[in-house]
C-alpha cells in the first residue's frame, strides 16, 4: 500500500468533521473520493497533506508514519496536491510557477544567487523539464503568460503540471474539474490518467462529476457526515443502495 489512513479523526471545536476513517490507496491506482457537500472529503485531503493537524489517527505513506508532519515536509515525502479553487502564483508567469517547487536549486542559496554561472546551467535544465511538462498538459504556448491570464481549466492543468515538477508519488486532487466546461473537464481527466500511465503517479481524487470520474477510477470511497460509508468499484458504487440514498437522494 502506498497510503494507509488508520482511524483518522478531526474535530473542529465540537464538530467532528472526519470520524474514524480508515482507507487504503494502492500504488499506481486512481482512487475516487466522493460524497455530498460537507461530508469531510476536503478535510481528509487537508489532513493527508499536513495543512491541518490531526485530532487522532495515523497517516502511513510508503510504510512511514507521516502523521503530524508540516505541509512542506509532507510535500518532500512525495505527496503533492491540487486545490478546489485554483491556487497558483497568479502574478507570476506559468514557467515561474513550475520552477518554484523544484527541489534543491543552487540559485536559491544567497551566496550562489548573485553568481550567475554557478546556477544558470542548472536553471536551464529545470526550465527545459518544465517546458516538457507544459507540453504534456498542452500549456506550452502559455509559458510566459501570467498565471492570472489563464482560463479556469488551464489553471487546473497548471496545478497538475506544478505537482509533476515535484516528482510526487501521490497526487491529491480536490475537484480538479470544478468550474470547468464539460469538454475541458474530460480533457483534464485524460491528462490525469496519463500522469498514472506515463509517470506512475498514484492519484486520490475528490470529484463531484461522477459520470466523468467513474470512467477513470479503479476504486471509489464514499464519505457521508465524516464517516466512510462505502468502498468499491465504480459499478458497485453506482448500484450501492445506501450510497444512492445519501448521494443521489433516491
Amino acid at each position: 500500500m502506498l497510503l494507509e489512513l488508520k482511524h483518522l479523526r478531526k474535530d473542529f471545536g465540537g464538530l467532528r468533521a472526519v470520524d474514524d476513517v480508515s482507507l487504503n490507496v494502492p500504488e499506481g491506482a486512481i482512487i475516487g473520493l466522493i460524497g455530498p457537500n460537507g461530508s469531510g472529503k476536503s478535510t481528509l485531503i487537508n489532513l493527508i497533506a499536513g495543512t491541518i493537524d490531526l485530532t487522532a489517527g495515523q497517516v502511513i505513506f510508503a510504510g512511514e508514519d507521516i502523521s503530524g508532519l508540516s505541509a512542506d515536509a509532507v510535500f518532500h515525502k512525495g505527496i503533492a496536491r491540487g486545490y478546489q479553487e485554483p491556487t497558483l502564483y497568479f502574478k507570476m508567469t506559468v514557467l515561474d510557477n513550475l520552477l518554484l517547487p523544484v527541489k534543491g536549486q543552487r540559485g536559491e542559496r544567497p551566496w550562489y544567487a548573485p553568481r550567475w554561472s554557478t546556477w544558470q546551467r542548472e536553471e536551464r535544465a529545470h526550465a527545459l523539464a518544465a517546458m516538457e511538462v507544459l507540453r504534456q498538459v498542452q500549456l506550452l504556448p502559455y509559458y510566459d503568460t501570467l498565471a492570472s491570464d489563464l482560463s479556469g481549466g488551464q489553471m487546473k492543468l497548471l496545478e497538475i503540471a506544478r505537482a509533476l515538477m515535484g516528482a510526487p508519488k501521490l497526487l491529491l486532487l480536490d475537484e480538479p474539474t470544478a468550474g470547468v466546461a464539460p469538454k475541458l473537464a474530460y480533457d483534464i481527466f485524460r491528462q490525469i490518467a496519463r500522469l498514472r500511465d506515463d509517470h506512475g503517479i498514484t492519484l486520490l481524487i475528490v470529484e463531484h462529476r461522477l459520470e466523468i470520474l467513474f470512467d477513470f477510477v479503479d476504486y471509489v470511497y464514499v464519505m457521508h457526515l465524516g464517516n466512510l460509508l462505502a468502498g468499491g468499484s465504480a459499478a458497485e458504487i453506482s448500484d450501492h443502495a445506501t450510497v444512492r440514498e445519501v448521494y443521489f437522494g433516491d
Partner: protein, 306 residues
Amino acid sequence: MPPALLTTSLVNSIQIGSLYALMALGITLTFSVMKLPNFAHADYFTAGAYAALIVSLSGAQNPIAIMSAAFLVGALTALLSHLAVFKPLESREVSLYTLILASFAVGLIIRYILFTMADYFNLFDLRIGIPLQVLYREGFLILSNIFAWVVPTTIALVILLTLLLNATPLGREMRALANNINLARVIGIPVERVKNSTWLLVGGLAGVAGALWSLQTAVNPLMGWAAIISVFAAAILGGLSSFSGTIIGAYVVAFSENTVILFLNYSFGLDLAYKPAIPFIIIIAVLLIRPGGFTQLLKRGGKLQR
C-alpha cells in the same frame, strides 16, 4: 527661490533620497516577504554605520572595505534578530501588533547595545575618515565625493536587487513568499531558508545605507532612529509593496525635506524646524487619501513585481 539655493537643495534631495531609498527598500522587502513593518530596521542601519566607523577608525579608508563591513554587520544583526525574536514569535502565531511591538523592542536592544559600546570606546558623533571634497563645480552646481559615492552605489544596489528578485531562483522564491506563504510551504519552497536570506539582504542594505549616511553626518546610536520616520514615509508612499513605488517615495520625501521646505521658508517664512513634521504629514496624507501609495498610481497592483 534663488538659483543657488534651488540647485543645492536639489542635489541634497537626490543624495538624501538615495539613502532613504536604500533603507526604505529593506522595509518594503521585510513587509512584503515577512509581513512585518520592522521598526528595528533603523538600528540595522546604525549598526552598519558603526561597523563602517570602526573599520575607518582602524585605518582602512577604502570605501569598498568600509561598505562590505557595514553590509556584513547589518546583515548579521538582521538575521540574528529574526532567529532570536521574530521567528520564535511567528511560530507562536502571535498577532501583527505583537510583532510590531517586538520590532520596537529589538530596535531598543540594539540601540542600547550600541550606546554601551559607544560610551565604552567613546564613539559618539564621530565621522568616517573619508574627507569631503568637491569633485565637480559648474556655476551653482557643486558635487562632492560623497555624492559620487552615494548616488552610484544606490543605483547599482537597486539594479542588483531588481535582478536578484526577478532573475534568480532566490528572488523567485522571495516573490512567492510575498504573494502566498502557505502555498509556498505546500509546494515545498524552503520557506525558512528564503526568509533567512531575505533578512541577510535587508540588513545588509540597511548597513550599507548606514555607512553611506555616516559620510554625510556624524555617527551616533540614535542616527537610525532619527531617520526611520522619513524612511517609513517613503515606504508607505510606495505602498509598502513595490520597489519602484518605494524608490519614487524616497525621492519625494527627500525632495519635500530639502527643496519644498526651503521653498516654503523662502517664500512664506515657514520655520525650518518643521522639517521633522514632513514625513508625518506625508504618512497621514497617504493613509487618508491613497493607502496604496504610488503602487496604486503605477497600476501594477501586484506585489513585488519588478
